[in-house]
């Protein structure tokens, strides 16, 4: 072993995250001096070019922020524009939106669980390699993901960037008889989701707790497409007050902005927050699966987020089946949303966390200003803080082992870097 005063280690590309970023760790003696999650995904300027567009355009345009969670962008955008125009979309149309969102949760969570995150727990570089030894599990994951995509394709027209979503509702709504084959697919998906919870419950989870405040939507049902924002410390506010509670700051090392509470605190949004704040709203089947997997009243271990995601897939499949069984076709595919001058806010639960949109409309119905706060920028400060503590407790590991653990720790958060402004290079500098 050679002794050096200072060393810099660059490990190529953290894979299995959505977007491009890098991790930089500087260690001096026993102290972790700096941890930076650098997001260098090229900026695409959505908030700038939404100005001057018609109030009907954000669902199609903002879907292009992310190929993995386009429905989240469409739902937050619709809600915000409708709020600005004084229109509420509920009843059968609201239920259909929730049904579409269930499809995205199933597809996105199945992708993350099986293709991105599980290989870490089982020691493989990816799902293709995992399939050599665990073919049945990977096939189950692909089947589950396909079921989510089938729901997206049926209701949205296609799985990536659905075409059937509009401000006010949909372009075309299905006849009840059309939903029968989909229900069959979802029943199989629900069984696959239950098997996923059982499978993931057998993984080994490092001991690590998250200390940040949770932030998630809260409603009469498990939060998806609507609700009020709720913090873990009693903070409750509607979408319209989001900017009074959350500020975004720019840091030199990232093209994603960092969000914090205006009173200074960091927070975490996503599956851990949703589950911990809304566990009692899960369906009986999902709750039972959570209990069997050993998830308690709240879950503060980010490594266990894969389990929470699996429970949420059970819920989404269960909820989709409930929505299909209760489906009454709406009187018309969309309610009219005549534009007016004003400001509207929308908050929904993307698979990886809270997604806030705000639009200011002019009297001509054109957008004057837009603001989009994706979950990954909200979680970035909490991720960095967690990594600092995670690294500090594992300095005895060599660089290679430490790097591997850090990559896994980052994947816990399912960061969607395309959203927040892909690829992670890790640099560990020790002196």
């Amino acid at each position: 072993m050679t002794h050096r005063n200072e060393r810099t280690l660059t490990v190529g590309a953290l894979a299995r995250v959505e977007g491009e970023g890098a991790l930089y760790v500087r260690v001096r003696g026993p102290d972790v001096e700096e941890v930076r999650l650098d997001i260098y995904e090229p900026p695409r300027f959505f908030e700038a070019f939404l100005r001057g567009r018609a109030h009907t355009e954000p669902p199609d345009i903002t879907a292009r922020i992310c190929g993995i969670c386009p429905v989240a962008y469409q739902m937050s955008a619709c809600q915000a524009v409708e709020a600005a125009c004084g229109v509420t979309v509920d009843g059968a149309l609201g239920e259909l939106r929730r049904l579409l969102y269930c499809g995205e949760w199933i597809e996105s969570h199945a992708l993350h669980i099986y293709l991105l995150h599980a290989p870490d727990f089982l020691g493989y570089p990816g799902a293709v390699e995992l399939a050599r030894d665990h073919r049945a599990a990977v096939e189950r994951g692909l089947r589950l993901k396909k079921a989510g995509n089938a729901l997206m394709e049926f209701l949205g027209g296609r799985a990536i960037h659905p075409v059937n979503v509009r401000v006010g509702g949909f372009y075309r709504t299905p006849a009840p008889a059309e939903l029968a084959p989909l229900a069959e697919t979802l029943r199989e998906a629900r069984a696959d989701a239950l098997a996923t919870v059982e499978w993931a419950a057998g993984f080994e989870f490092p001991d690590f707790d998250h200390g940040h405040e949770f932030l998630a939507l809260s409603a009469d049902r498990y939060p998806l497409e609507r609700g009020v924002v709720r913090g873990g410390t009693g903070r409750v506010f509607p979408a319209a007050e989001f900017e009074r509670h959350v500020v975004e700051e720019q840091v030199p090392h990232s093209t994603a902005l960092h969000a914090r509470f205006t009173d200074g605190g960091r927070y975490l949004t996503g599956p851990l927050a949703r589950y911990s704040l809304n566990r009692d709203r899960l369906s009986p089947l999902a709750l039972e699966a959570a209990d069997r997997a050993g998830l308690g009243a709240e879950c503060r271990n980010p490594f266990r987020s894969i389990l929470v995601r699996a429970v949420e897939v059970v819920y989404a499949a269960d909820e989709a089946l409930r929505l299909i069984a209760g489906y009454e076709p709406p009187a018309r595919p969309a309610v009219p949303v005549p534009p007016r001058e004003g400001t509207g806010h929308g908050v929904t639960e993307a698979p990886r966390g809270l997604l806030y949109h705000r639009y200011d409309l002019g009297p001509d119905g054109l957008i004057r200003a837009a603001r989009i706060v994706p979950p990954t920028s909200q979680n970035q400060a909490a991720i960095e803080d967690d990594l600092r503590r995670f690294v500090a407790a594992r300095l005895h590991l060599d660089d290679e082992a430490l790097t591997r653990r850090c990559e896994q720790a980052i994947r816990n958060y399912d960061p969607c870097i395309s959203c927040s402004t892909h690829f992670l290079d890790l640099t560990v500098e020790r002196s």
Binding site: P42, F45, G67, L115, R143, K146, I160, H161, V163
Partner: protein, 262 residues
Amino acid sequence: MGRPTLAVWKFASCDGCQLTLLDCEDELLALTGEIEIAHFLEASSAAGDGPYDVSLVEGSITTPADLDRIRHVRAVSRKLVTIGACATAGGIQALRDFADVEEFASVVYARPEYVATLARSTPIAAHVPVDFELRGCPIDRRQLLEVLAAHLADRTPDVPSHSVCFECKIRGNVCVMVARGTPCLGPITQAGCGAICPAYARGCYGCFGPSPAWGGGRPNTRGLLPWLDMTEGEAHRVLSTFNVTAFREGAPAEGRGDDAPQ
């Protein structure tokens, strides 16, 4: 001889087109029996240095660093296939080409000087030779499989260049423009999606870009306007989305990137 190797690369984009490969749920494991996925960071942390038989490239070139990276990708790829509207036309982020990028950055960032970005978002072919361009925002899964299968069989991919109207007829859709007066870009848009939008009772909004059936030039959208019953502003906006540089009149000449000689 081993299996041919495939690499997947991402530039400025939403991940949707490379996700299309993972969305081939029924074919993915069979495909990996025929092709070795040697570099695909969204799916695996195992990445070889190449060279690769085929590279799929998603995304447009928008930063100085990516100008260098695309040259590297070309150098390590026997065939280079671009996938999606960003890689073939600059994508929606090419709206900056018609605006002041510094002003754009100032709207999004308090400290725009921290952000390295080019004034234009350019397609891959503006910088390096491209062997095949697969269109769409996002690309179509069946077309992607056709391109990969064609490569394995060493033949030309069967990707038609006719307009969406043909697909509408094949699908048996009622024409939304004729029957309902709904503005539809189908007549001037390249086929490939399967005419999804008219099947869902809305007009085509041009995800696949202009159909080359228009003789290689830009479609005569102005001539179409009276049919569409749209104001100039509406027509301008509908053409200014995911394939803005390919559709829009007055767009900067194609094939000129920020690194092109002045």
